[in-house]
């Protein structure tokens, strides 16, 4: 297991004047309704999780679920009301202002939903901004920014102002800016939500390409379940400030922990999300047919092949060792079964 980069221990964020006192009195038993009656709004309610190095954790929830608030606690844009947050073992809430600034300058990058570019600076100036804040020489920062411009495919537009760019292009600038200081931890707050569907898909692919190359530790916020499934190593689903379930995409689709999570999974085309490994039978079986499929294959891609078989199909890993088996009927079960009637 690789090292833990972000670690949260029962983090609470409660808005309102007496929030801290009320939280202490409640002994960690926070009920949103009783708090609301007393004029406090619960943003994040008892969140505990870890993010490993190089992992992408997607926090998914509808608006008002507290996902952005959680992100802001971890980046300490707001101070959590209770609990502990560790960034690479450092207690985030104990840092003084200077240390916090140092941490942000060297380790953190963040992308925003509304792009949050500085309107008075050009593309290249925006990207160089975090470097210049750090005190990098103008020439060096501009050179580095130009590399980033190329990385996100905006060459030729470096002297444009944000207002002269399309939404997708603006977000590319946002991404380039957040990566300019080469951070280890990358926060993305609904980065693609304000974009058109086609552009969004293009940006998601681009994002995956970048992540493949850079291998950052990522917290990604979204309200789009499909996006979460597409990108995530693990997904945390939030509702009313509480993390309802935190698991891999496959486990969430196959075993939704609560009714709320189930509702999201119902409409998901499983054959596009799950891989063979998720549904295979690991008990050894001697009655195997000739067909072998890779365990990392997405069901949709091999479904036709498997379904035409009469025998049980062998599942192999990349070195061609048999790791399990799958019955053709299991495919039909996975794709069509297990759903509520009438939906």
């Amino acid at each position: 297991m690789s090292e833990t980069v972000i670690k949260c221990e029962s983090v609470y964020k409660i808005f309102g004047e007496n929030a801290k006192k009320m939280l202490e009195e409640s002994n960690g038993n926070v009920d949103a309704k009783t708090f609301q009656e007393k004029g406090c709004i619960v943003g994040v309610n008892n969140a505990s999780f870890e993010v490993a190095k190089g992992e992408m954790l997607v926090v998914m929830g509808l608006s008002g679920s507290g996902k952005s608030t959680l992100l802001r606690c971890i980046s300490r844009l707001t101070d959590a009301t209770g609990g502990k947050i560790f960034i690479e073992g450092q207690d985030l809430l104990e840092l003084n202002n200077k240390e916090l600034i140092e941490l942000r300058r060297s380790k953190m990058g963040m992308v925003f939903q509304s792009f949050a570019l500085l309107p008075h600076k050009t593309v290249v100036e925006n990207i160089a901004f975090p470097l210049q804040i750090k005190g990098t020489k103008t020439e060096d920062s501009i050179n580095r920014a130009m590399e980033m411009v190329k990385l996100v495919g905006l060459d030729g537009r470096e002297n444009y102002f944000p207002r002269e760019l399309s939404g997708g292009q603006q977000q590319r600038v946002g991404i380039a800016r957040s990566l300019a200081v080469e951070p280890d931890i990358w926060f993305l707050d609904e980065p693609f939500s304000a974009l058109d569907p086609l552009i969004r898909k293009e940006m998601q692919d681009e994002f995956l390409r970048l992540q493949e190359k850079l291998q950052k530790t990522i917290m990604f916020i979204t309200h789009d379940f499909d996006e979460a499934l597409k990108l995530a190593d693990r997904i945390a689903i939030m509702k009313d400030g509480i993390i309802e379930q935190l698991d891999t995409p496959a486990n969430i689709v196959l075993n939704p922990a609560t009714e709320y999570v189930r509702k999201f999974t119902e409409e998901v085309p499983r054959e596009k999300v799950l891989v063979i490994e998720d549904v295979m039978d690991t008990t050894s079986n001697d009655n195997l047919g000739d067909l072998k499929v890779l365990k990392d294959e997405i069901i949709e891609n091999v479904a036709e092949k498997i379904l035409t078989q009469e025998k049980i199909v062998a599942v192999v890993d990349s070195e061609n060792n048999i790791v399990g088996s799958i019955k053709p009927s299991k495919i039909i079960d996975t794709v069509f079964g297990g759903r509520k009637n009438g939906s």
Partner: protein, 717 residues
């Protein structure tokens, strides 16, 4: 009854009016009442009533309290005076070292602070002035007269006008480009050949000190208010009053504190120019999207970096409007402060006003407008300037502006030197064209106005007589006929109907202050003139605005015209009307109308423009014609914004009515003018200023409250 249920508001208003008129008729005019009432002054008359407050004696003519409230605040101006005097002359005396006499001297601390401040301001102004016009004060400040005597070559002349003109053009070119450079060059040439060089440069040196200082203070206080709720709460009432206070009511107290001259003018200008800067800074900072601030924080900004590199640049749209306001206020103050001895164009304007010389006034006024617009555009261009990181420039290309300036500097000096030979014995036109030696079109304008007067004398006179006898006099009489209690009921009732208890209380407090001051009658006269001006201005402004809105080009053109008229010193409007209509209320009112129509027109166009395009399309698809669209869709939606225009119109009108005192009116302005030349005038001037400000604030409160409600109702807040 059905109507009553359907339109409850209408009936409430009707009821209010009925009560008002009933009170008006029920309360008779007391027999002893004459318009000129005993003020809280020093006229002693056995018929006067007397009361003492805080040891001050206040005398007044008593009437039935329903008719006119007794001036229970009559002690305020006297008290302000005494306090000022005490602070300046007796409070906290301390020992200070005196350079001239080489000994310690006892002086009240405030006086010392005031003297030091003035010395500092004077130094700054002189420094710039002497670069532009030549002089020795600055060098002497660091050395001594003996030093100058020893080294007479230090006595440098100012810059020849050619160099300043070239410098302005090159700077404009660097900031913006050819267009602005051309404008800058032409402006400077105009100023020079029309013989306005010296006063213009004097005014400019004053502005170059006042504007940056106002900007820095305004920005600083605005940031402080943005960061701390407490600071904002403390500043807010002051800002509100300052926004509606007639500018030259501030002159009088400043006169007491800082004496006479350019330095006092700078300080007053700051007092007037800082409030709008503060307001716009707060507005701009508040409007920054929270994500931009978070982006700054996540980039690792310290608080300072966040403020300087993220917040201020992002809010720069509003901050630049603030800069524009500062420049405009500085120029209008540059004129007004001629009253307290500031040199420059303002002084010339005042002279022209006294001589009724419209031509001279126009030329000087145009100088002010042109410099104002030039500085405004330059500051705008400076803020929008872009850096080029990739240009691979040669030494010449990088420094061409400096090189060009150096070249024109040398050429200018050579030209000026050559000039001494060409214009032997007379003036060196290549160095500086003296006042009254330049070209002048004054005669043309003067003759023009004379011609109009001669040709249309009969009509003008007939119109004037009709207006005064049949409209203005009766209107004024009606206003004065209003008993104090009835007016109070009307104001408070209107406040209650529009904004509920809160508004009613605010309006009541503001009205009571005026009613309890010794100048209620004067305030009514001010109100009558303002009302007349506002009504006509709005009629014109709304009509012109609506007509111009029909066409994009004409709308843009009209907004440009508004800009020019607004930068034009308001004094200038007084001269032609005074020549045509004499010393009457008509003259003042026409000047008021010309000036107050500007915001009415501007806000009408802006309001109509702000109607969403989607609605236009929806309306067109519903098959409305142009007129229907205007009346059913555009007007209702633009109306709240137009009401804000009305608000501005009222402020502009009040301001001009007060300036109208120069023509001769019998309102609050007349007393402010009197206070200017009265050594005990500070308290009176300030109190009168507050009275005028409160009139403005009453309407401001009512209109704003209404607009906010209406906008919420329409869902466009």
């Amino acid at each position: 009854m059905e109507y009553l249920k359907k339109y409850p508001k209408l009936f409430q208003w009707l009821f209010l009016l009925v009560v008002f008129f009933a009170l008006c008729f029920a309360i008779d005019v007391p027999e002893t009442y004459k318009f000129i009432r005993g003020q809280a002054e020093f006229v002693k008359d056995p018929n006067q009533s007397v009361y003492f407050f805080l040891g001050k004696e206040v005398r007044y003519y008593a009437f039935d309290v329903f008719w006119r409230l007794p001036p229970l605040l009559g002690w305020l101006p006297i008290w302000i005076n005494d306090s000022l005097f005490f602070l300046m002359n007796e409070w906290m005396p301390m020992e200070f070292w005196n350079e001239d006499t080489q000994e310690f001297k006892t002086r009240p601390i405030l006086l010392q602070i005031s003297r030091n401040l003035t010395a500092f301001m004077t130094f700054l102004i002189e420094l710039i002035r002497e670069i532009l016009l030549g002089g020795l004060e600055t060098i002497v400040a660091f050395t001594s007269w003996d030093f100058i005597d020893a080294y007479p070559w230090l006595e440098l002349p100012g810059l020849p006008w050619t160099i300043v003109a070239a410098g302005a053009a090159i700077l404009s070119y660097k900031l913006s480009g050819k267009g602005l450079a051309l404008f800058a060059g032409l402006t400077m040439i105009y100023i020079s050949i029309f013989g306005q060089w010296k006063p213009s440069m004097q005014t400019l040196s004053f502005i170059l000190v006042a504007a940056p200082l106002s900007f820095i203070f305004g920005l600083g206080l605005g940031i402080a208010a943005y960061k701390s709720k407490r600071v904002e709460k403390a500043l807010y009432p002051i800002l509100l009053v300052m926004q509606t206070m007639p500018q030259y009511a501030v002159l009088v107290p400043a006169l007491v504190l800082f004496g006479v001259g350019d330095h006092a003018a700078v300080i007053i200008t700051m007092v007037v120019a800082v409030p709008p800067m503060i307001l716009l800074t707060i507005l701009g900072l508040r409007a920054i999207p929270p994500e931009v601030i978070e982006a700054g924080r996540m980039s690792g900004c310290t608080n300072w970096q966040l403020m300087l590199k993220v917040l201020i640049p992002t809010a720069r749209r509003d901050i630049l409007i603030g800069v524009n306001q500062v420049i405009m206020v500085c120029f209008s103050m540059a004129v007004i402060s001629a009253f307290i001895g500031a040199k420059g164009l303002g002084f010339n304007l005042l002279l022209a006003l006294n001589q009724l010389n419209i031509g001279l006034a126009l030329e000087a006024g145009l100088c002010i407008s042109l410099i104002a617009i030039l500085l405004d555009k330059m500051s705008l261009a400076w803020a929008n300037k872009q850096t080029d990181y990739f240009g691979n420039l040669t030494f010449f290309q990088r420094n061409k502006n400096v090189i060009f300036f150096a070249a024109s500097f040398v050429i200018g000096i050579i030209l000026a030197y050559v000039g001494t030979f060409i214009f032997k014995g007379s003036f060196n036109y290549l160095f500086e064209i003296p006042h009254n030696k330049g070209i002048s079109t004054a005669d043309f304008w003067n003759k023009g106005v004379d011609w109009i007067f001669d040709t249309f004398f009969v009509y003008i006179k007939a119109f004037n007589t009709w207006l005064i006898q049949d409209v203005l006099q009766p209107m004024r009489a009606l206003y004065l006929r209003m008993p104090a209690v009835a007016t109070l009921v009307l104001a408070v009732g209107a406040g209650y109907l529009i904004g509920g208890i809160r508004s009613a209380l605010v309006v009541a407090a503001l009205t009571l202050f005026i009613a309890l001051s010794p100048w209620w009658d004067r305030a009514l006269v001010t109100l009558y003139m303002a009302t007349f001006g506002v009504v006509i201005s709005c009629l014109i402004g709304f009509t012109v605005g609506t007509l111009c809105f029909q066409n994009k080009k004409s709308a843009a053109f009209m907004l440009g015209v508004c800009d020019i008229f607004q930068t034009f010193p308001s004094f200038v409007y007084l001269i032609p009307v005074m020549m045509l209509f004499g010393i009457t209320d008509t003259s003042v009112l026409i000047a008021v109308i010309v000036y107050a129509t500007i915001p009415a027109t501007r806000y009408t166009i802006e309001g109509l423009r702000s109607v969403p395009v989607g609605l236009h399309e929806a309306a067109t698809m519903s098959g409305v014609n142009k007129l229907q669209r205007l009346t059913k869709i555009e007007f209702p939606l633009a109306f709240p914004h137009m009401m804000l225009g009305l608000n501005q119109t009222i402020v502009f009108a009040l301001f001009m009515v007060i300036i109208g005192a120069f023509i001769g009116t019998e309102d609050l302005g007349q007393y402010i003018l009197k206070a200017l030349s009265d050594k005990n005038g500070a308290g009176i001037g300030l109190t009168l200023g507050i009275c005028v400000a409160f009139i403005g604030l009453i309407f401001d409160n009512l209109i704003r409250t209404w607009v906010e409600k209406r906008k919420k109702h329409l869902g466009i807040a």
